[in-house]
């Protein structure tokens, strides 16, 4: 019976099926030369197996273990997960058509960068924007005096019940996405991102600087229905000077 080295090795490694293993074992039992060849495989496996038992490491926890646990923590900590409100449903079914068109026609030519305004404040809004926040319904577009086309994207209620609105302002080849929330002192900017239409103009995108993260941060719930929005805007319109 001709038995090659690989078959002997497979026997030593337990990789042969039972029937084949029996046949090879019988042949080996009857042949000292085969026994010697098999020994080299069983012995190398045994010797190398000893290295598996060798810890090679100091007692104590591997420093990487803490890193792995830390990486797992956000997903495995129900407390922090439940503290976060569920991400609102995508409300922007009425996202302005120019972005869709740009994306479909000339994706390669557009590099979008995002910029987040870390200093929210009422000062960020001019009177025309405040008026638009108070008056525009979701889906409506208004041309401002400086040439900006302002589109109201959606309205939400934040975690404290405050009215928050997302809008986009297009001017001179840039799209500014803004999230504003209405507080006791009027509209406060909670997020602003500039989408550039020229490569290299703005910083590269950051995963956290997204409108979705901003919505989550204010605890925005599901987008308001047109009725809910009308009721919310009706309140805010009170006391405004007639335009």
């Amino acid at each position: 019976m001709q038995i090659d080295d690989e078959t002997l090795m497979a026997l030593a490694d337990g990789e042969l099926d039972a029937e084949r293993a029996d046949a090879v074992r019988r042949a080996v039992d009857a042949d000292p030369e085969l026994q010697a060849r098999l020994f080299r495989f069983t012995e190398t496996r045994r010797l190398l197996g000893g290295l598996r038992e060798d810890p090679g490491q100091d007692a104590g926890e591997d420093p990487l273990a803490a890193m792995i646990r830390a990486a797992a923590a956000p997903a495995s900590a129900p407390a922090s997960a439940s503290a976060m409100p569920p991400m609102p449903e995508p409300a922007n079914t009425n996202r302005r058509p120019w972005l869709a068109a740009a994306a479909s026609v000339a994706i390669a030519a557009f590099a979008f960068g995002w910029w987040q305004n870390d200093k929210p404040g009422p000062q960020a809004f001019g009177q025309p924007e405040i008026a638009a926040l108070d008056e525009l319904r979701t889906g409506q577009v208004r041309g401002l005096d400086d040439g900006t086309q302002l589109s109201m994207i959606a309205s939400f209620r934040g975690s404290e019940g405050q009215l928050c609105r997302e809008y986009e302002a297009v001017n001179a080849g840039t799209v500014r996405t803004v999230l504003a929330c209405r507080g006791s002192e009027g509209w406060v900017q909670r997020f602003a991102a500039l989408a550039a239409t020229e490569e290299g103009t703005f910083q590269p995108a950051s995963g956290e600087s997204s409108i979705d993260a901003a919505l989550q941060a204010v605890g925005a719930g599901a987008p308001l229905t047109p009725e809910e929005e009308a009721a919310a805007l009706g309140d805010s319109a009170e006391g405004l000077p007639p335009s």
Partner: protein
């Protein structure tokens, strides 16, 4: 990345360190390799099939990281081998002297083999992976695993004077 994933990954850290040392033959390089592997594993946790064993998946990541690393190191000049820094070799105070000498001899002989043989010996004989898992890890057919492993075993046995 869920808790089960991270627990398995932590449990396999010693295996990763062993394989890294076998590939890199230098403790500091091996430590970097383990860290890179763990980082990549965490980043790609979603691509791991929880129904399968993690070892082949992890070793494959490590091997790819090693290939990336050595590609870069080719321009960095000669590095000191583990033989020149004996303390880099793991030692175990528990077994008797004779066993320890034998262990060290196996280890040192192993390190003299070409990388291609070292890695396959390590995966099958130390990590006890099946031929199929080894084929998957190395991205080669089982037939190639067997021929390469057989050559490596014979080379090792010859160097160690086994008859």
């Amino acid at each position: 990345m869920d808790a089960a994933f991270s627990q398995t990954l932590i449990a396999l850290l010693p295996n990763l360190r062993r394989f890294a040392l076998s590939l890199a033959r230098r403790k500091d390089v091996a430590d970097d390799l383990v860290q890179t592997t763990v980082e990549r594993a965490i980043a790609n946790a979603a691509s791991f099939d929880a129904a399968s064993r993690m070892e082949p998946w992890l070793f494959r990541i490590m091997r790819n990281a090693w290939i990336d690393q050595t590609r870069r190191q080719r321009t960095q000049g000669t590095q000191v081998d583990v033989h020149d820094i004996p303390e880099a070799l793991p030692t175990d105070p528990r077994p008797g002297l004779e066993a320890r000498i034998m262990l060290k001899s196996v280890q040192e002989t192993m390190l003299t083999l070409p990388e291609e043989q070292r890695e396959i010996l390590h995966l099958v004989c130390i990590e006890e992976m099946s031929y199929a898992e080894t084929a998957q890890t190395l991205g080669i057919p089982i037939g190639t695993v067997m021929s390469r492993l057989s050559r490596a075993r014979l080379a090792l046995s010859e160097k160690m004077g086994l008859k």
